[in-house]
Every structure is written in structure tokens, then in C-alpha cells.
Symmetry: C2
Subunit: 326 residues, 2 copies
DNA sequence: CCCTTACCTGTAACCCGTTACACACACTAT
DNA sequence: ATAGTGTGTGTAACGGGTTACAGGTAAGGG
């Protein structure tokens, strides 16, 4: 690979002139510029971005910390981040943290040593300081953890309310909520939305815990239906959980949506692939990912943020696991 | 962030000594070592990997070029690559190429400029030279493209044969094959496996094309069932396609597996989530990803490869879209 | 004709590690 | 006493860019 020195020699100028041409900075005569340009193309010269990084202390790389790319919620998010990053000339480093504090710390250290330009966080096991001390721009995606960090999330509370109200409107009288993990903000908000509505309207209800896996959701659902056979609707905190509920319900021959309504949350593609397709409170996942990437890059490029916190709308996707459809 | 000079000053030694301690190379007295170690921990010094990269022309980063992370086949692969990479101290840069020649070229250039240490390729739009000219270790994953490049793939031809034979054994007499894109080697091999079996056994069959999306699969399946209502089995080249077929079949009230058997290929988690769960020719996806990462890192670290090409076994996951189950 | 200003260019320091090389010392072998 | 080996340490060049600074030329104004 040719270096800037080779180009300089070939074009009979100094490296400074080459650099000036490359960066379109400072004065360069037309003649010199042409020579340099020709040298660059003749030698097929590509500036070395590591050397640039070293000097500028930036890397044109951003990190995306997610719990697990194989959780179907994240690929679309990652895709959006990557798409936006690419258009601005950034590359994305994906880090699966498994919500493990040690892996997270390990990644943070590695990324910092590489002069990573910014971080999108959908995970926050470490204390806030650990992130802020990195001294680089951050965006919290889906989960918020500090009011100093710009955040992109969706209206989880409202979405949960809408879902619950919809189930009730369709005639359900005993609703189960399968909630997500406790330390996760969206799961808490969805739970609150559910609880507030059922309590306001005096509807019989039950809440059970579940992690992010479908296997767990199936176990939980099985136990639920055995213990409370009269449950006539389930609001699941994720589409994965809803899919698990659906599978169990079909196995025990419940008619969907006649005997049991199911509504999920997230709006992942899986929901539509199932039969019956799952009604869900959809978040604009791609949009959230893209938005957070833009928000991050804006910070990196020292632009002022007009809005620091985005709460995007959720919309109910009316599909086949709920009755009536308006 | 402290630099090696700060550490040297604090420990009253030269930077060379600090470097020697860091890399455990050359002679260092016990006393000096202790001082340096103390300085490192007192100052919380972390060596700057960009500077290291510049000198060593390596980056401890590997690139993973995939068509699209939101295609459910890839997250598990990416996850495996990332897990292995992490244990060897590498970070992974994910590149969604969309099978687009220009995006691929753009990534290749960016990665090369960053001194990327190696590449795992599941995509090959560019000509072989473009990859080999990078002068870095490569691994072809899922698709092979040159006998100079170590490859990890699964026995697509055999898997397809097994699937087709299984459908026939279960009594199907008119089998459709929904094949994948033409330029993709695994799709071709699966097609050949299917064709050879139906021709050997003189079974009525039809082959139709389809891309990687479920929407397309649904369109294709709809057309197929309208035109050939007597089709009694479908072998789809991917689980996504199989899911599309299943959905269409259920919509037109075909009894699965009584009226119609469906078998997919890949073994993505989705297959199990559906009801009925899709019988599929499963590839050990995680294993393939992990294997290719190890293969790549071995090359990067100049170890000799005892085996250069891995063809992993496929296994039929007997589930609910096929009859009998042995 | 002198001074200012715009334009153009090169030298060298800098970013932060790594390592070749030189030098110094202690000890053994001859 | 002298050469040779193993230790221990520092200086400086290097990797490949960027840029402050110095210095040079030409044009325009007074």
C-alpha cells in the first residue's frame, strides 16, 4: 500500500501539499493539485485511517451495545444504525453484552482504546459514571439511564394502556400480563400502563414475570392457563412472549381470538409470520435505530441538538389474535 | 487519558522500559517492573490500540460481511463470530452489503484502511480478486468462491436429498421446490439435490424461484397452489420461504401435514415458533459461525490449518409440517 | 519603491506506541 | 588481563498521517 510519502515523491511535492489536497485545506496551486490527484490515482493511494485516528483521536467508528443480536428485536435496530452510520462514513462495532457487567466493561475498555467516536446503548448494567467517564457522545436507545444522555425510546406506558384498553373494549374480563425483567425500564413502563388501566376499570388481572426467551414464555403461559383457566386475554410485554403464549394456547386448543385474545409489544417481523398473526403494539424499530444513530453522529460532529429526548409513538397493529379491528 | 510517557515519567524509567513491561519482552529488572506496574495502576493507564495498530499494521478487528443482519439466518451466525472473536481479543465489524457490489467495495476500502486483520465473507458479489488482493486472511462462510480461500459450509446437496427423500417416503407424489437465488451456491446445491432425487425416483415435480423474503415466498406459493392444486409437498430452500408457504397453505385451509407436507432448510429459531412447527433441514448455524471465526483467527495468527474446508452435516429436525417422524 | 496581503510550499514536530541499536555493568571463561 | 555472555536501560527512528510555522513569490495600494 502506498503512503502519502510515495504520493508526494511521485508528484514531486511535499507530504504537506498532498495532505492539503486530500483535506481540501489551505492553499494549493492548481498545478500542484493536478499532479497530486494524478499521483493518487496512478498509485491507487488510500489514506490510512489508523494514522489519521492517531492524530485526530477519532476513529469514524461507533459502538452499538446490545444485549444479544439473536434476540429478534435487535437485528432491525442494528440494521438501521448501520445504514445511517454508513451514509455518514462511520462503521459500526456490535457488542453483545448479554446484560453481563463484565462483558460490558471489557467492551468499553476495548472501544475506548480504539478511539471509538460514540456509543449507542441499549443496555446499562454498569453505573452511569462508567459510560459518562468515557468522555464520548452517547445515546440511550430503548432504555434511558441518565438525563444527561440523549434518549430515544417509545411511549411504552401509553402503548401498554392502549393495548389493555383494547382488550377490555373487545370484552375480555380476566387479563393476564406477562411482564419483562425488572431492571429494564420499558418493561416497567408497560407494566405500569397495564396496571393503571385494569385498576381504573376494575378488571380482574394477574401479572407474571418472564425473561426475553420464548421457552420461558411458554413455561409461564402453561402454568398460567393451568392455574387460571378463565383467563380470556393476555397482554405480553414482548412479541416473543406473545408468540410463546400463542403456541401454548393452540396446543391446549384454545380458540384464538374467540376464547383468548393475545396482544404483544414490539412489532418484530415474527409477529406477522405466525398464524394467526399476532396483534401487537408496534414500535417503529427501524426509525428508532436510525434516529439514535443520527442523534449520536450529530453529537460527534458537535452540532447542537434541538431535541434531546425522543419518545416515539407506538401503534397497534391489528392482526388476528384479537377480536374486532378498529 | 495517560500515555506511555506519563507512565514512564511517573515510574522514573524510559518509555522503552514501560513498553517492555507491557509486552513482557526483553530484559527488565524486578525493581523497574514493579515501579512500572504501580505507575500503570496508579494512573489507570491503558495502552492506546490505535498507536499499536499503526506500528504493527494490525487492528485486532475482523470484518463480517453479510447480506443483511435482519435476515433471521444471520444474527445467530454473527453472534457466534462475535463470541469467538471476543475470547481471542478481537472485535467484529458488521457490514450489511445487501448483495450490492458498490456497498461491498465501499466496505472493503474502509476496512482495509483500518488495517482490518481478516474477513469472513457470506457474500461475494465482487470478483474473487477484489478480496484476495486485500492481502489479509479470509474465510468463506456458507458460500464458497475460491479454492484458495478456506470455506465453511454445510452439506447442502445431501441435505436437500434427505429432505426430498423424506417427503417421498411419507407418500408425497407431486413435490414443489421453492428455490433460492441463482448466483447463490447453497441455493444451487439444494436445487440439484432435489432435482436428482425426484428424477431418480420419477416423482412429479415443479421448481419455482424466490428471493429471501417471506412476502415473495407467499406470492410464489399462492401462484403455485392456484396453478397446481394437487401439489402435496413443498421443499423450500429456506425456512423463511417455508414459513411463507405454511401461511398461504393455512389461509386456503390445507390440512398440514395431511394435505400438504412442508419442509424448510436452515434451522432458524423461527421454524420452531410457528404452529405447526416447521420440519427443516437444520444447519448448525452457531457452530458454523464459530468455526469460521476460529478458522480466520488461526490464519491471522499464522497457525497452520490442518483442514481448510469444512462441510458440516445437516440434520432433519422432524417437526409438525411433515408426516410420520423417524 | 516599500509595505501589505494573498497565495504557495516545505520542514519538522506531533499523535502514541514499538523496537533497533548503543552503551553500561556484572560475571565467567581463557 | 581480556574477551565474551547475559542483563538492564535509554535514545531515537519509525509507522502514516496532520498542521504550525517559516519563508518565498507576486500583486496591489500608497
Amino acid at each position: 500500500m502506498p503512503t502519502i510519502k510515495d504520493v508526494a515523491k511521485y508528484a514531486s511535492v511535499s507530504v504537506a501539499t498532498v495532505s492539503r489536497v486530500l483535506n481540501k485545506k489551505g492553499y494549493v496551486s492548481k498545478e500542484a493539485e493536478e499532479n497530486v490527484l494524478k499521483a493518487i490515482s496512478d498509485l491507487n493511494y488510500k489514506p490510512n485511517s489508523v494514522a489519521r485516528s492517531l492524530y485526530h483521536k477519532t476513529s469514524k467508528m461507533i459502538g452499538l451495545l446490545i444485549p444479544d443480536i439473536s434476540n429478534p428485536f435487535f437485528p432491525e435496530l442494528a440494521r438501521a444504525v448501520e445504514d445511517v452510520a454508513l451514509t455518514y462514513g462511520y462503521t459500526v462495532v456490535i457488542c453483545n453484552t448479554d446484560e453481563d457487567i463484565r462483558k460490558e466493561a471489557q467492551y468499553l475498555e476495548a472501544l475506548q482504546q480504539k478511539y471509538i467516536d460514540g456509543l449507542i446503548l441499549t443496555t446499562n448494567q454498569l453505573s452511569t459514571d462508567n459510560y459518562e467517564n468515557l468522555g464520548i457522545p452517547l445515546v440511550a436507545l430503548d432504555r434511558q439511564f441518565s438525563n444527561r444522555v440523549p434518549t430515544v425510546s417509545s411511549k411504552n406506558y401509553e402503548g401498554a394502556r392502549k393495548a389493555t384498553e383494547y382488550l377490555i373494549k373487545n370484552g375480555s374480563e380476566f387479563i393476564a400480563h406477562i411482564r419483562g425483567p425488572y431492571h429494564v425500564k420499558p418493561a416497567d413502563d408497560r407494566y405500569r400502563g397495564f396496571k393503571d388501566v385494569v385498576e381504573e376499570q376494575g378488571i380482574a388481572h394477574i401479572v407474571v414475570d418472564c425473561d426475553f426467551t420464548m421457552t420461558n414464555a411458554m413455561e409461564v403461559a402453561k402454568g398460567l392457563f393451568e392455574k387460571y383457566p378463565t383467563i380470556d386475554a393476555v397482554f405480553a410485554s414482548s412479541d416473543i412472549a406473545a408468540a410463546g403464549v400463542l403456541k401454548v394456547a393452540k396446543n391446549i386448543n384454545k380458540q384464538i381470538p374467540e376464547d383468548l385474545q393475545i396482544i404483544g409489544f414490539d412489532g418484530i417481523p415474527l409477529g406477522e409470520m405466525l398464524t394467526p398473526a399476532i396483534t401487537t403494539v408496534a414500535q417503529p424499530i427501524y426509525k428508532m435505530g436510525a434516529l439514535s444513530a443520527r442523534l449520536l453522529i450529530k453529537q460527534i460532529e458537535k452540532q447542537l441538538l434541538d431535541v434531546r429526548n425522543y419518545e416515539v409513538e407506538t401503534t397497534i397493529q391489528y392482526r388476528e389474535t384479537t377480536r374486532s379491528d378498529t
